[in-house]
């Protein structure tokens, strides 16, 4: 505060020393003795001027703010004004409107850092800064275009704050076909902030690039075009607040890579962190990417979303990776590490062939927030020479090796999936081969609300070559929460290992035989174990299931009809789909009762409106239920004529 007061109060007589287009301003109260030496030089506050270089010296009452350097662009020229207390540390070079400043100090000046305030407009200029100490670049109404390089190029490896001043709009544009890494580049960390607006266009590569981490808070940042990524950084990326919109990129929206070879993981206060992680902790983030196989947000480390309003859309199709000899596809969110969602509202839309909502190599954990995913592209496949095409039905995919196909999945995770607590997830896939949620390790749902409408398996716990045969590989466990899993062309819930239903409320819908509502890998001696929970399964259960908790089936069910199932004192209303497998199986902690054709009022809507909890139920007719011990489309599997795949079915 003292520094602030001194800054504000610094007024009175000022000696201005003008050298070319640079004016150094020395407050009379601070100059002390200004010494001449041999008639050739003049030293003021540590700054040595060659007298022959001085164009003019004047005294006026200009206010001088300590630590400030102002750069004003005006067409083909630029003026620089340097506060006296930092004059000895700042060496500007001006060529037209191209301003290069070497900052030589290695320590804070007057307990503060140097602030470079840029304003004005030029179609052929730049701001280049070198040095070795942190500083601030304040944008105060700047339109800066550099047709031959980066608009702002900071080779200072320290932390740089880039702040757009309140109520100002600032636009940076670089030239095409250059060698610069970005329109706004800093070798060191970039902290993007301010109450103003910053627009960035990257015509050669990225729009914004840091060799270290990037943080964003408060700022309104619009990246409207980039030949590479919208934002590209290393170490980590953190968005705390503000509004960031990214579109028109030829590659990813935001990409964060590991700076070194080994990840530090997340560190306390991110001190010396090099993790490749992306943290989204607040604000509004809108990303649209259109390139083939592009990612909206991509982390080489972990991706962690704890708050914010995030909308990501990808429209690009698949790509053949001729190096790795495999197909690639777009994804709204991608991470080589783990993905964690604990808050925020996240809308993901992928329309391209093979496009995914989330694609992660590590684990996926959702404990909160609202995640809505929609994919509409068909699966993309490649011939042996890498020629890409799309398929129109999921069945066509079976003849392709995994490297030669990429399916449009809502959530595709190589590691484990854990959904719990207050997580709300809604996934819809409409393209051929579109799975809803898939893990290549295992899936564990202990809470939250999961709603999946998919063309292929709605929820699939699978395994990879790496995890196949390991304990628990491909297992799927539901012990709490609300789960709706509807597949229009395959299983509702499909575990390639064992499937455990221990609790929660599960409403699963599979298509007709041989697919089922809830499947386990009986071909490899795996089972469905039902030991608890409330279950509604249209399409029946896998043959050979272990039903410790009694299950019951109805001889038929009506499509597009509201039903109510009551278990003990709890009643749950649900609407049947327009299609699905023949058998309707229900189960609960006690023997359920079922009514068809009910009228539903009040209550809490879940599963995107196809079910209600705590609703008032009226009307309808009772549905006769019979004991059910298994099914799966194999005659006699349940021991009853309607035990899955038997007579009945929807009307």
């Amino acid at each position: 505060m003292i520094a602030l007061v001194l800054t504000i109060a610094a007024s009175g007589q000022t000696l201005n020393v003008k050298v070319g287009n640079v004016t150094y301003q020395f407050p009379a109260s601070e100059t002390g003795d200004m010494t001449y030496n041999d008639g050739t030089t003049l030293n003021i506050m540590g700054k040595t001027f060659t007298l022959a270089d001085i164009d003019a010296m004047t005294v006026d009452n200009a206010e001088v703010k300590a630590n400030q350097v102002a750069v004003s662009y005006d067409g083909t020229s630029a003026m620089v004004t340097v506060a006296g207390n930092v004059a000895q540390y700042v060496a500007p070079t001006i060529n037209g409107a191209h301003v290069t400043i070497a900052q030589s100090n290695t320590a804070a000046v007057d307990d503060d850092e140097i602030t470079y305030t840029l304003s004005g407009s030029t179609a052929d200029g730049e701001f280049a800064l070198s040095g070795s100490y942190k500083c601030t670049v304040s944008l105060a109404g700047l339109t800066l275009t550099n047709p031959s390089g980066a608009a702002i190029n900071i080779t200072n490896g320290k932390r740089i704050q880039i702040s757009a001043k309140k109520n100002t709009e600032n636009t940076l544009t670089d030239g095409a076909n250059g060698s610069q890494k970005a329109c706004l580049y800093s070798k060191g960390q970039i902290q993007l902030q301010g109450n103003g607006t910053l627009n960035v266009v990257g015509n050669t590569k990225h729009a914004i690039k840091s060799g270290d981490y990037i943080t964003v808070k408060i700022l309104t940042l619009n990246i409207t075009s980039a030949a590479g990524d919208g934002i590209n950084c290393e170490e980590y990326f953190q968005m705390k607040s503000g509004t960031v919109s990214i579109s028109g990129t030829a590659d990813d929206g935001i990409q964060c890579d590991l700076g070194g070879d080994t990840s530090t993981g997340e560190t306390a206060d991110h001190e010396d962190e090099d993790s490749g992680n992306i943290y989204i902790e607040g604000g509004t983030l809108n990303v649209i990417v259109t390139a083939a196989a592009a990612k909206g947000i991509k982390a080489e480390g972990d991706l962690r979303i704890s708050d914010g309003d995030i909308t990501v859309k990808t429209t690009g199709g698949g790509l053949w990776d001729s190096t790795k000899l495999k197909t690639k596809a777009s994804a709204c969110l991608g991470a080589d590490g783990n993905i964690t969602i604990s808050g925020g509202t996240i809308n993901l839309t992928s329309t391209g062939a093979g496009g995914k909502g989330i694609n992660g190599d590590g684990n996926f954990t959702a404990t909160g927030g609202t995640l809505i995913i929609k994919t509409s592209g068909n699966a993309v496949v490649a011939s042996s020479n890498g020629t890409l095409s799309t398929v129109s039905s999921s069945q066509q995919l079976d003849r392709y090796d995994s490297d030669y196909k990429s399916s449009p999945k809502g959530i595709k995770i190589d590691g484990a999936i854990l959904i719990s607590d207050n997580a709300i997830i809604s996934v819809t896939t409409t393209g051929a081969g579109g799975e809803g949620i898939e893990s290549k390790t295992n899936i564990n749902i202990t809470g939250g609300q999961v709603t999946v409408n998919a063309v292929d398996d709605a929820i699939n716990s699978s395994y990879s070559d790496a995890t196949k045969g390991t304990s628990g590989a491909g297992d799927l466990t539901i012990s709490g929460g609300y789960v709706y899993a509807r597949s229009s062309g395959n299983d509702g819930i499909d575990a390639n290992g064992n499937c455990y239903i221990k609790g929660g409320l599960v409403y699963a819908i599979g298509t007709t035989t041989p697919e089922v509502a809830i499947d386990a890998n009986s071909e490899e001696q795996k089972k469905l174990y039902v030991t608890g929970g409330t279950i509604i399964a249209i399409g029946g259960l896998e043959n050979g299931s272990s039903l410790t908790q009694s299950c019951y089936s109805a001889s038929s069910w009506n499509k597009n009809t509201w039903y109510a199932i009551t278990v003990g004192s709890e009643t749950f209303a649900f609407k049947t789909p327009s299609s699905g497998g023949n058998t309707l199986v229900v189960s609960g902690a006690s023997q359920p009762t079922l009514k068809s054709g009910v009228t539903v009022s009040g209550g809490t809507s879940i599963f995107d409106g196809v079910a209600y909890t705590n609703a008032t139920i009226s009307g309808g007719s009772s549905v006769s239920l019979s004991s059910y011990t298994g099914g799966g489309g194999f005659p006699g599997g349940g021991g009853f004529p309607w035990g899955g795949g038997g007579p009945g079915g929807w009307n």
């Binding site: 109060a9 007589q13 200004m34 001449y36 005294v59």
Partner: protein, 131 residues
């Protein structure tokens, strides 16, 4: 928070009120001679080996330093002058210590009360005591 803002405003006001008014830029040559120049709208021009500041000219190689000052340090001290010996042209200006300008005729007519006055001529500024 409001208290902090008020305190800051008070501090700013206090510091601003105490800001020193540097009305002169004083040049000191290598032989120790000083010459002060009023800074109001002052321009310093360097041409060749000469620096011009207002009405003053200096050879650059003779300059040792310059600094802002609150007083005209050109004057070397208080001179006691017998008013009978005083000769003044019409362009000289006389001020009392309150800054009020005094008509030259009062000095010449020996109408000035005893006290200290500032006399500013074309060539110098000095203090004058009337006893």
């Amino acid at each position: 928070m409001k208290k902090i803002v008020l305190m800051m405003m008070a501090l700013v006001g206090a510091l601003a009120a105490q800001a020193i008014d540097y009305t002169y830029l004083t040049f000191e040559t290598t032989d120790g001679q000083k010459a002060s120049v009023a800074v109001e709208s002052l321009t310093l021009n360097i041409s060749g080996t000469t620096l011009t500041a207002g009405s003053q000219q200096f050879t650059l190689s003779n300059l040792a330093k310059m600094y802002f000052s609150t007083t005209d340090e050109t004057a070397t001290g208080i001179e006691t002058i017998d008013s009978g010996q005083l000769t003044m042209d019409d362009s000289a200006e006389i001020y009392d210590l309150k800054g009020h300008k005094i008509e030259n005729s009062k000095l010449l007519n020996r109408e000035l009360p005893h006290g200290v006055y500032i006399v500013k001529t074309n060539s110098r500024t000095y203090k004058m005591i009337i006893r």
